[in-house]
């Protein structure tokens, strides 16, 4: 299993690069899990989900903090629960979406 991370200054094009790479691998038949660790997640747009599709994705962390994981959840279970299909062989999971005011 290969684990790649993409980083850069905001606006540099890193999310676009990440999204296109993910799509290229998926189109080549590889199983791809794309992880959006940005607290303002936009990777869905670069994967081709569009603005509405991306806006509607849920953030794993917030839901887990509120509901808690099921007792016997493995990381794969958690990913399965939160990942959305973004195409053949391609899933996306948003780790932490900060889109609500939180006190403190």
């Amino acid at each position: 299993m290969t684990k790649i991370a993409v980083a850069g200054k905001g606006g540099s094009g890193k999310t676009t690069v990440a999204g296109v790479l993910a799509r290229l691998w998926a189109e080549d038949g590889r199983e791809v899990l794309s992880v959006d660790a940005d607290e303002n997640p936009n990777l869905g747009i670069s994967l081709g989900l569009g603005m509405e599709g991306t806006y509607g994705l849920i953030g794993a962390r917030e839901t887990l903090l509120l509901d808690g994981p099921a007792v016997s959840s493995s990381m794969e279970d958690i990913v399965d629960r939160f990942a959305a299909e973004a195409g053949e062989h391609l899933r996306i999971v948003q780790v932490r979406k900060f889109d609500q005011f939180r006190p403190g």
Partner: protein
């Protein structure tokens, strides 16, 4: 009057915050500008030499499991700010780079920097210079906004480029929940290249209920200045971007219930 700049990373917050600071100074106003990003950005725009320090390190003290400021916000600003060539008093939260490999591990320096971050967060939220202007440049994205860094009074300026990701970010700000009653959310359309760009942003921001207080065109002079690491504030006030920011300053003046001064007010 507090003016806070927010937006997606790379949307142009630092450039606009710097240009606004320069415009206000040119009008004879007193300006304190603060950069909440741990990689220097606003410093370069203003022509302040970025340094290694966490400006406010040590200015917050541990107190019964919490923190308290070592002085009033105004005293801390007096003590820790640096003046830009244009007369803007400047504060930065700090500087995170690889020399900070002790970022997590060496206790005293970590606490020092953490105290600086705590102090910065408090000062940027609460410092309001009577009769002067406080310009805050937040980190790109939603993290600091969600954490309440915009504060409770003033104008929040969301900078939006004509791209879906930038608009989506603006949507998130608007949908964040109950904004403090003392904060007003307005928009600036930035790096606009065409009538189609302007129409797109007008439609989207209209839909979000965010009034556009300035439309800043994609300005080759600004691009070139940034490309050469030349402080953007040294650009001629005649360039398209600066003229648009002058318009923003006019709107902000109205909001502050001040008379709109002539651009050469500094000579009075």
């Amino acid at each position: 009057m507090r003016v806070v700049f927010l937006g997606k990373g790379g949307s142009g917050k630092s450039s606009l915050a710097g240009l606004l600071s320069a415009e206000l100074t040119a009008r004879g106003q007193r300006v304190v500008a603060m950069d909440a990003d741990t990689v220097p950005g606003l410093a370069q725009v203003l022509g302040v030499t970025p340094t290694d320090d966490w400006f406010l390190a040590g200015t917050a003290l541990r107190d019964n499991g919490g923190w308290r400021l070592d002085g009033s916000p105004a005293e801390i600003v007096d003590r820790c700010s640096r003046e830009s060539p244009g007369g803007v008093r400047f504060l930065q939260v700090g500087n995170a780079d690889a020399t900070l490999k002790d970022f997590e591990f060496r206790r005293e320096s970590f606490l020092d920097r953490w105290s600086g971050t705590v102090a910065f967060n408090t000062v940027s939220r609460t410092f309001d210079d009577e009769g002067g202007w406080v310009i805050i440049d937040l980190q790109g994205g939603t993290l600091q906004v969600a954490g309440g860094m915009v504060g409770t009074s003033g104008i929040a300026v969301v900078v939006v480029e004509p791209f879906a990701k930038s608009v989506l970010t603006a949507r998130r700000f608007v949908g964040m929940g109950q904004w403090p009653p003392g904060m007003r959310l307005v928009g600036v359309a930035n790096k606009v290249e065409s009538a189609a760009d302007e129409a797109y942003l007008t439609t989207e921001l209209d839909r979000l209920g965010v009034p556009i207080w300035a439309t800043v065109p994609l300005d080759p002079a600004v691009k070139q200045a940034e490309r050469r690491a030349q402080p953007v504030v040294t650009l001629d006030r005649d360039t398209p971007a600066r003229r648009a920011v002058s318009g923003l300053a006019d709107r902000l003046y109205e909001a502050a219930n001040a008379e709109v001064p002539l651009p050469d007010a500094a000579s009075r």
